[in-house]
């Protein structure tokens, strides 16, 4: 590829830029304004919803579930008594009543409330049965009345009372207040939320927060813990997004500092800063305009990277301009020469960086494909804004007298880099061997990498709400994650068949044996239709404990199910459809652990196939979602690394017009990837949706220096005919700038090290390690390999030179 011809083309571009600068500025202003207007529609995907597209099996299963059983999500508050006593005192019960009423009255799309105050208890006696409400006549103030109500709620044991260790703990000190939600549809959705279901989720979460944090419910007597997807999403927006904003702000300050240090004039700080902001705002605005929602957890990556690259590109353009301006003193000509010199080399690095992000588009995960798309567009926009605006703005001003004294000449540091190149060439084999050994030591670490994508693992312990979360998990009834299993037969009335019902009972027992299932006291937290049937059966049989079971006679079972569906329709329909052919079980989890979750999911699927060979079954909720997310993170990571490797290798091959040189150029770029992989494995930095982006990103950025190095070496070789001389010249010319660009990038990503969000901290650490590793490779193994392999042919003799 003839560089001179390409440079000539960029020279023409520079001329056009200078000639039509006012028109170009006006066009940029208009385009930027239009794009930025889209920012008014900017919105985030929150929680895990954004992970799965509309055609995804998980989304389809969720839709199926919601068609039959209504809204999958609800909200809840766990009340935990502090100090002495339990929840069955007048004050505590009144508080639970007030809190429940506020939830039901104030939360949008509120449906049914369940608490120890609002619960129907079927009680059998000799005559028949009675559906009792423990506080039908209000909350008693006398101890006798309170004791009576307590006795009714806490009657029997956890084995014969569905409420114990489910709604209320066996010691009476903990209890859930649960609110089911209506489907997010209808007039309310249109009128109050403009049809945006995510807005509903957030409004519900914020309202729950507002209620439990209100003055009315602050007391040393009890603690309240919110729960449910809407609550988690609101927490994410309230606590995490400001953290992301802090990262971006800090990154912007670092960017200004670096611009000030390197360019040392106010113009050199303001222009790139404005260009960067304009580019980033335009991309995000245009995407919002087209209805693309941003991913909250990954939003900082493309922005911080964009700012880092903007500094690099700007410094490149400014320094090149300064060089020519010093030489010629003619401003406009210097601008044109600057564009001619920088245009292609900067553009090529832009293309390789973009290519690494484009690789995420092939990954079947919405946040990552969003990040890849956005980062690629931001990198492109940064390039366009910097390469168009900076030369134009530099063209304004007066000419000056040429400064020939400073025209050339290397600094002491440049000479040290040159000497280093000489040293590397002498010791090339030991360096290659040591490098390979070091890399080999990191390879086993790669195989230790695990995936952890659950919210708590990525948030880390430093976030303010995590301690509260832990307290809740330590409580007897507290739980953070849950999942549901839906079993569907084709034939109406399938679950009236005692065989299928027995299979359901066996399956329920099996779920209790799984390692991640939460147990409260001696009861596994598995809910299904069987508890309603047991309660009804016992109630119809004088309340005898021996009848607290599902009847096995077909006629009795069928009639009991029909009766339950009539008498307790709403509770019944939470678990069974109206045709008695689809049922669901819900399971609370004690914690989340990736490997265990995958094993649990596999065991559940095997058991379902064994017990219900003729039924279709699907899993929904946290466990399957996180297990699927970790699978996709692992495979997505491998895919995106693979894709970016192939794309970048192809580009190197094209750029150097040689397969051999292209592939050799890839070797030093794999080194930082191995380094990062090893560190992740040894340090137990798991793959998540942040860390999975690091390796392809490092590959895309690291390759820039390799291109610079190889290109300079090639032109040096053409000039001097000797690899040694060319390499020394090359290091003298670009050794320092390679260091500086890596320093800028590392400093920008260093802002992540101050983040309390664990995954951002880890991303920061890994990027810094990766970029430093890439620089180290370019200072060691790259020149050593280039010298050893001599990819540009043989050296010319001194005479030839």
């Amino acid at each position: 590829m003839k560089v001179t011809a390409i440079n000539h083309f960029f020279g023409k571009v520079g001329r056009v830029q200078v000639r039509f600068r006012w028109v170009i500025l006006a066009v940029f202003f208009i385009i930027t304004s239009i794009c930025c207007s889209g920012l008014t529609q900017f919105a985030f995907y929150l929680g895990d919803e954004g992970w799965f597209g509309g055609s995804d099996e998980i989304t389809i299963n969720k839709q199926k579930y919601e068609e039959v059983f209504g809204n999958l999500n609800g909200v809840g508050v766990l009340v935990v008594k502090q100090g002495d006593g339990d929840l069955f005192s007048e004050d505590m019960l009144k508080m639970i009543d007030r809190l429940g009423n506020r939830l039901r009255d104030e939360i949008p799309f509120a449906d049914r409330l369940t608490s120890i105050i609002e619960v129907d208890i079927p009680v059998g006696n000799e005559e028949g049965f009675e559906v009792k409400k423990p506080f039908k006549d209000g909350i008693p103030s006398d101890s006798e009345g309170l004791a009576k109500a307590r006795e009714l709620v806490m009657r029997g044991s956890e084995q014969t009372n569905a409420l114990i260790n489910s709604l209320v703990s066996d010691n009476g000190r903990e209890s859930w207040i649960m609110l089911s939600l209506l489907p997010f549809e209808g007039e309310q959705l249109k009128e109050k939320f403009e049809g945006d279901k995510d807005e509903v989720t957030l409004a519900i979460g914020y309202k729950l927060m507002e209620i439990i944090e209100s003055e009315e419910f602050q007391s040393a007597e009890y603690k309240l813990y919110g729960s449910g997807v809407p609550y988690e999403d609101a927490k994410e927006e309230r606590y995490d997004i400001p953290e992301y904003a802090n990262c971006v702000m800090l990154g912007f300050v670092v960017m200004l500092i670096f611009l000030a240090i390197f360019l040392r004039n106010i113009f050199g700080v303001i222009v790139p800063a404005v260009a960067t902001l304009g580019a980033i705002a335009s991309v995000l605005g245009a995407m919002s305009y087209f209805g693309v929602k941003a991913d909250s957890t990954l939003i900082t990556l493309p922005i911080v990277l964009g700012m880092a690259l903007a500094v690099g590109y700007s410094v490149h353009y400014f320094n090149m301009f300064k060089l020519f301006f010093r030489r010629t003193g003619k401003r406009k000509e210097s601008v044109i020469m600057c564009v001619e010199e920088c245009g292609w080399s900067v553009m090529f690095t832009v293309i390789t960086t973009m290519a690494s992000f484009v690789s995420f588009l092939f990954v079947d995960m919405r946040p990552l494909s969003w990040m890849g798309k956005t980062a690629a567009l931001i990198v492109l926009a940064i390039y366009v804004y910097v390469s168009v605006l900076i030369p134009i703005l530099l063209s304004f001003g007066k000419d000056t007298t040429p400064d020939t004294a400073n025209e050339q000449g290397a600094t002491k540091l440049d000479m040290k880099f040159s000497a280093w190149a000489g040293f590397i060439q002498k010791k090339r084999w030991p360096i290659i061997i040591i490098s390979l050994l070091v890399l080999a030591a990191f390879i086993p670490g790669i195989f230790k990498i695990t995936a952890r994508v659950d919210y708590d693992a990525i948030s880390g312990d430093k976030m303010p709400y995590v301690q509260k979360q832990k307290e809740m998990l330590d409580a007897k009834l507290g739980n953070r994650y849950s999942y549901s299993v839906m079993i569907q037969f084709d034939d109406e009335g399938a679950f009236k068949d005692p065989k299928n019902m027995q299979a359901l009972i066996d399956f329920e027992k099996f779920l209790g044996t799984l390692s991640l299932t939460k147990w409260s006291g001696g009861k596994a937290r598995v809910s299904s239709i069987t508890s309603i049937l047991k309660e009804m059966n016992s109630a119809l049989n004088e309340g005898k404990e021996e009848f607290y079971k599902v009847p096995d006679d077909e006629y009795v079972l069928a009639q009991l199910m029909e009766l339950s569906s009539i008498e307790m329709r709403q509770d019944f329909n939470d678990f069974m459809d109206e045709e008695f052919k689809i049922t669901t079980l819900s399971v609370d989890m004690s914690r989340y652990a990736t490997e265990e979750a995958r094993d649990n999911v596999a065991a559940i699927q095997a058991k379902l196939a064994e017990l219900f060979p003729k039924a279709q079954s699907s899993m929904l909720g946290d466990m399957i979602q996180y297990a699927e997310m970790s699978n996709r993170t692992v495979f997505g990571g491998i895919k995106s690394i693979g894709f970016s490797f192939i794309i970048i290798a192809m580009m190197l091959i094209l750029a150097f017009a040689s397969i051999r040189t292209g592939l050799i150029g890839m070797i030093p770029n794999i080194a930082p990837v191995i380094l990062v992989g090893g560190v992740m494995g040894y340090m137990d930095y798991a793959l998540d949706f942040g860390t999975v982006t690091v390796m392809p990103m490092i590959l895309g950025i690291a390759v820039d220096d390799t291109i610079h190095l190889t290109t300079h070496l090639k032109s040096g070789l053409e000039k001097y005919g000797s690899y040694s001389v060319a390499m020394e010249s090359c290091f003298r010319e670009i050794g320092k700038s390679m260091f500086l660009t890596t320093l800028i990038l590392c400093a920008m990503f260093m802002v992540y090290l101050f983040s309390p969000m664990r995954f951002l901290f880890i991303v920061g650490v890994l990027i810094i390690i990766g970029l430093s590793g890439a620089l180290l490779a370019d200072y060691t193994i790259t020149p050593a390999l280039l010298h050893a392999v001599k990819p540009f042919g043989k050296e010319r003799s001194k005479n030839e030179a």
Binding site: E127, G128, F129, E130, V131, D553, Y555, Q559, L563
Partner: protein, 262 residues
């Protein structure tokens, strides 16, 4: 002078408001007191329609009689097969003078268990037989439980109707507000809207096939739609007969046990 005008204006408004309230209460009372015979028998057909349009039907034989101030009802499920024979007997008593309700006596018979069980504790705002109707929606809700107002007038299916609002006095009531379109001539309800505690529309009622049978205005088809869950119940009354002799022994626990009522 100014003072006198103000007093006059206030008095006029007060009279207007009072007469308006009185007329709303009167309408509500007339709706409540619509006569419906000493005895009745019918077949009730209930169709449950879920949000996906799937339907599920039940047929119930219904017998009622007035025994003094007590309303006695027997319901016997005829279909589907698994519920056939499940029977309910209930005695409903008039409210006390202070407006408070008296718990009804109810029994259920399950043929699979061959047992009659006494059922108590269910409330009038509970679902009627697992439908979108509550016992209150189908029965006569006590007038003392609500404050009435007339919201306006409108024609429904060619009939001039009052738009009557009933606001529950109990702040904890599941349905906070009922709006009914009441025919000015017959005081029969033509349609209704039910609002939940957050004053969101929860259910709509459409009444059809309204006829006079033996001089009693009777609604033979009612469709209640829960607009929040998109679940619907169609309640149809067939073979409705009034004031015909019914076997009084039907309204006893032993009749349930002997599976005497068909």
């Amino acid at each position: 002078m100014k003072n006198t005008s103000l007093k006059l204006l206030s008095a006029t408004l007060l009279i207007a408001a009072t007469s308006f309230a009185q007329s709303a209460n009167e309408i509500a009372k007339k709706v409540h007191d619509l006569p419906n015979g000493k005895t009745s028998s019918s077949t009730i057909s209930i169709t449950l329609i879920d949000k996906n349009g799937k339907t599920r039907g039940r047929e119930i034989a219904s017998y009622t009689m007035k025994d003094g101030t007590t309303d006695k009802t027997v319901l016997v499920f005829k279909t589907p097969r698994d519920v056939a024979g499940i029977s309910y007997l209930s005695y409903d008593y008039p409210d006390k003078a202070d407006g408070s309700t008296v718990d009804s006596d109810s029994w259920i018979y399950l043929p699979a268990m061959k047992k009659v069980r006494r059922v108590s504790g269910s409330s009038k705002d509970d679902d009627f037989q697992g439908t979108d109707f509550t016992y209150d929606d189908l029965g006569n809700r006590n007038l003392s439980k609500d404050n009435f107002a007339i919201l306006g007038e409108e024609k429904v299916n060619g009939a001039d109707c009052w738009i009557l609002e009933a606001k529950a006095k109990d702040s904890k009531a599941k349905i906070s507000r009922r709006v009914s379109w009441v025919d000015k001539k017959t005081f029969v309800t033509y349609k209704g809207e039910y609002y939940d505690k957050q004053n969101r529309l929860q259910k709509t009622l459409i009444c059809e096939n309204i006829k006079q049978i033996k001089g009693y205005w009777s609604t033979q088809k009612m469709t209640m739609t829960n607009v929040q869950t998109n679940h619907k119940t169609v309640y149809e009354v067939k073979d409705l007969k009034y004031d015909e002799k019914v076997n009084e022994s039907f309204f006893t626990v032993s009749a349930l046990e002997r599976e005497q009522i068909k």
